[in-house]
Amino acid sequence: MTLLVDIRHRLGSFELEAGFESSGRLTALFGTSGSGKTSLVNLIAGLIRPMQGRILVDGRVLVDTAKRIFVPMHRRRIGYVFQDARLFPHMTVSQNLRYGRFFTPAGERYAELDAVVDLLGIGHLLDRRPSLLSGGEKQRVAIGRALIASPKLILMDEPLASLDDARKAEIMPYIERLRDEARIPIVYVSHSVAEVARLATDIVMLAGGKVSASGPAQDILRRLDLLPAEERHQGGSLLEMIVAEHDTAFGMSVLRSPAGEIRIFGHDALVGSRVRVRIRANDVMVATQPPEGLSALNVLSGKVSQVREGPGMLSDVTIDCGGQPVIARITSRSARMLDLKPGQSAFAVIKTVSFDPDSTTRGITI
């Protein structure tokens, strides 16, 4: 699936001018509030008509202002999961789920009700009214409802934003399953690095109505300078690793990659499975010598590939550890004292306690 967007649109005094192309399994539209994320998905869904530009999904033209093409939303076959689930209050969960199916041509229905209900774990809710569901349940039903219409693309506009952390943790795995098992491309709007790092294969970063960067998630999240200030401390590198063994005596799991081994608190993934680990740049120390007598368990060795002076007397040091870059955010003073230069060998040191459950997720099977 390829999504191509190239549009200009004005909303009051806000000017949206966005162009990007993505073939990712889950493309995150990432940016602060007011950066134009929701307007962009509304344009893709057909809720807004752009003043100028083109939108194509898999070569199918949805909008082309030059050729006066505008496919109305009900003919786009694009599912939309709204921030506020928007379940129909006068229908049961089951009726909500089946609503879109009716409008899908029989030959194009690929989503089976039973399979979707299973995938989202909502079998026990089918006869209930939406008003009797919890926030997390509503959002799962909303995802199911979009899915059962057998869309060619699913848009999710901050589906977790109105939920507390426990509910978020409840839904995340379902979105991961959707990404990995349902094989429908997803465009996911978020302002949280943690969410994006966990879910996204690709990222389109928006700032002030413009695309400031786009590309594979690993590449974009490394660019700490592009992240909004309040989310910058969450930025860092994403490493794809394999679960090597479980150290039951200490309740830890050992993860292995060409970059070396790291230990995290027990992860439930099977030995041999892939996991994705986010290492926040703020949690990484840099050593030029192999460190000794240190409590930190994780030492990755590599070569400095880049030293970038950041704002506020901070420097971002990229260490290439066996092909996977690890970023450390240290003070410019430390960078100067260690005299870090590209090409020089260095060690990235990470405390195991700095990995929270949010930062390790199962790997994206491609």
């Binding site: 809720l47 009900h74 928007r86 129909f88 209050p89 008003s131 009797l132």
Partner: protein, 233 residues
């Protein structure tokens, strides 16, 4: 309690009134929903004028409305003559004319109730239905209309009650012919104009009260059932 028994003529007036009111309500409902929808959702040139015309019967003296109906829908009126010659539909001095007068008088109340509830519908739900593949007519039929149902019921009850009580426009337009255009209020009025008619007037007044109460209770029950089915938070 002998005095409570209605005479055959009184029964005719009661039945006629109910028939006229039901027809007035049911026949004006589709137009009422359409106008309410247009006023609630659309912006167009002349919207204020349309709104004014719809509300006119509410503020004009009923006799004036009745006279205007006579001028336009009477046998020699432009619309009345057209309908008579082409479709054989006659309003003047028929019960259909009473229904028309009642429908016109009750129209603003019906439109108002429905319009308010259309304005209360969360349009985001309609957008959600659109993204699921429902075209605008389907969205209206499956989302908007069910959500507006309580307002429609309220509008119909209001319209029915107003029609049951309509007097001025009816008597001006279609007069007061027993068995054809003599509705409950006209019958009560007639009783008060003849010596010894007090008892008849009182009987029909009681009937009016009972019918009004039944309409109110039915609307309550319906509204409650709809809102329970809907379970709106």
């Amino acid at each position: 309690m002998e005095w409570l028994h209605l005479s055959p003529e009184e029964w005719i007036a009661v039945r006629l009134s109910i028939k006229v009111s039901i027809w007035a309500t049911v026949a004006s409902l589709p137009l009422g929903i359409l106008i309410a929808y247009v006023l609630a959702r659309k912006e167009f040139w002349g919207k204020a004028a349309l709104n004014g015309i719809v509300h006119l019967p509410l503020i004009l003296p009923p006799v004036v409305t009745g006279y205007l109906l006579l001028l336009t829908f009477g046998r020699r009126g432009p619309i009345g003559a057209f309908l008579d010659q082409n479709f054989g539909i006659v309003f003047s001095f028929r019960w259909t004319g009473a229904a028309l007068a009642c429908g016109v008088m009750a129209f603003p109340l019906m439109v108002r109730a429905i319009r308010l509830s259309i304005e209360a519908v969360d349009r985001k739900l309609e957008a959600a239905a659109g993204t699921l593949g429902a075209s605008p007519p389907f969205v209206f039929a499956t989302i908007t209309l069910p959500l507006v149902l309580p307002g429609i019921i309220a509008g119909m009850i209001l319209s029915f009650a107003k029609a049951m009580g309509e007097f001025g426009a009816t008597i001006t337009f279609v007069s007061n012919i027993p068995g054809e255009t003599q509705t409950l209020p006209s019958a009560i009025y007639t009783f008060t104009q003849v010596p010894g008619g007090d008892l008849g007037a009182l009987r029909l007044t009681l009937v009016s009260i009972v019918i009004a109460m039944i309409a109110l209770v039915v609307s309550e029950v319906l509204a409650r059932r709809v809102s329970r089915r809907m379970d709106i938070e």
